[in-house]
């Protein structure tokens, strides 16, 4: 290891470094201000971008409903961020700028009561078993999920789908040893669709949206769990009026039609 002695620094060098430091402190707030301005005002094309945080099980249906909303409201653009409800809640607590949030359970929403306005349930759902196309392992009921020769993936109990699944299995007294607890219900679906797992508990609507890639085993309604999707505006929403309008619109007939077509139950 060789280390040559450093030449003494000329004075001007130090001066310039100090100059740079001053520039930096001046520039930093400036750039921050720019960022904030771009976020709050309308975009270049005059449309207002409303950011919607939504549970991953709403990925397809809200994307479609969003397109219908934008058609009715040409001055608004909806930007969606889909993730597990808990992850969205964590993002809200960390101060991620967004306008409204739709979670897949009321517990997650209740835990956000300091960060959100009043919530409205916009849709309901229930669980089903997803298997590979043609159901090669012959999974016909929840009891089959306990079989040794059936590898099962569940959603992690950190996300609503995982809690609903656990609730359902406990109520039926079925003990399942899952091979994986996936971070979102969509990840459960893809593991089944890819054939890596034999079966998984997903929302009825997820199984429907996957089409031919998975086979859905329905569960009797009277023994299913009641999945509710509450929507609420965020307290710090950059566009509170638009957020309230989107939530109100989700209760109107055009939105209900999209929800119904995707297999959701109405509130």
């Amino acid at each position: 290891m060789t280390s040559a002695p450093l030449a003494p620094r000329p004075r001007r060098h130090r001066l310039r470094v100090r100059l740079a430091a001053v520039l930096l402190t001046v520039l930093a707030p400036l750039t921050a201000a720019c960022g904030g301005g771009a976020l709050a005002g309308p975009d270049d094309d005059g449309r207002t971008t409303v950011t919607v945080l939504a549970a991953s099980s709403l990925t397809d249906v809200l994307t479609e409903a969003g397109a219908a909303y934008e058609e009715e409201h040409p001055d608004v653009r909806l930007r969606f961020s889909f993730a597990g409800s808990q992850e969205l809640a964590a993002q809200v607590r960390q101060g991620l700028p967004a306008d409204l949030i739709v979670t897949a359970d009321t517990a997650t929403m209740d835990a956000l009561r300091n960060e959100t306005g009043p919530s409205t349930v916009i849709a309901r759902n229930r669980l089903a078993i997803a298997t590979a196309p043609g159901n090669p392992r012959g999974v016909d009921s929840l009891d089959d999920l306990a079989r040794e020769d059936v590898s099962v993936v569940l959603a992690d109990p950190e996300v609503p789908a995982g809690r609903y699944g656990r609730e359902l299995l406990e109520r039926w007294g079925v003990t399942v040893r899952p091979v994986s607890l996936e971070p979102s219900v969509r990840a459960v679906l893809s593991k089944v669709a890819l054939g890596e797992a034999d079966a998984g508990l997903v929302y009825v609507t997820d199984a429907a949206s996957a089409g031919d890639e998975v086979h859905a085993v329905p569960l009797p309604d009277d023994r299913n769990v009641a999945v509710r999707y509450p929507a609420a505006p965020l307290e710090d929403a950059p566009h509170p009026e638009e957020a309230a309008d989107v939530i109100a619109w989700l209760g109107t007939e055009p939105a209900r039609r999209v929800l119904r077509d995707a297999g959701f139950l109405l509130p």
Binding site: M1, T2, S3, L6, A7, R9, P10, R12, H13, R16, V17, L19, A20, A21, L23, L24, G84, Q86, E87, A89, A90, R93, Q94, S151, V153, D156, E158, V159, P178, V179, S180, L181, E182, P183, K191, L194, G195, E196, A197
Partner: protein, 269 residues
Amino acid sequence: MSRPADRRGPRARPPVAFVLPAALALVFLAVPLAGVLAHTPWPDLVGHLSSPAVARALGLSLLVSGWALLLSFVLGVPLAWLLARVHFPGKALVRSLVLLPMVLPPTVAGVALLRGFGRNGLLGGVLEVLGATLPFSTAGAVVAAAFVAMPFLVISLEGALNGLPPRYEEAAATMGATLPQTLRYVTLPMVMPSLASGAALCWARALGEFGATITFAGNLPGVTQTLPLQVYLLLQRDPAAATSVSLLLLAVAAAVLIALRGRWLGHSR
């Protein structure tokens, strides 16, 4: 520019046009780390890190990263030697292939692993006959970690071997040393520092692996839920605990780099 100016080299006074963006770069890199430090719940730190769940994930992380390092050694060291010493057609292509996992998004690596080694992947049938199902198993987590971490070892070692004048090995050969003897007594001692730093980086990368693991191996406590996966899930329920575990991983990563002191870039100071 005149010649003497050119030769002033790195000791010349740095232009402010460089100093400013460089300072911004440092701030950019340092702020998130400072954020972890600032938000670390120091009074609860010990409690968080000694909870059974964290202890289990830590144990699994050490196991998985250790096996990944071993796998990288067994397969990667011969590969590095071949890349450095043997001329063969398509070598540039092979080297790109080795580098690819370093630049691939880890989730893409996970998808690729599923398509290659998954139950329905290219080699899924072969593996099933051998009685090995990688997804959702600890072995799968090892494979995911080794896939993204091995290149660090290979590239580091190959660089060192390339920088080694062949005359030492040739001299040993003319004195009658066999190839294993030459490797053991001549080559290995000379590339040892690079091998060690490559191994350390490889291990650190394996320890931090997240995307490929959660995509390919899944998430099950005690089986595939390593520390980074736990941080990710913990952040949703208990951000303070997630910050504590983040600090632990940050400290390990920093310790590796401090121990290496930039040696992996070939610097001597």
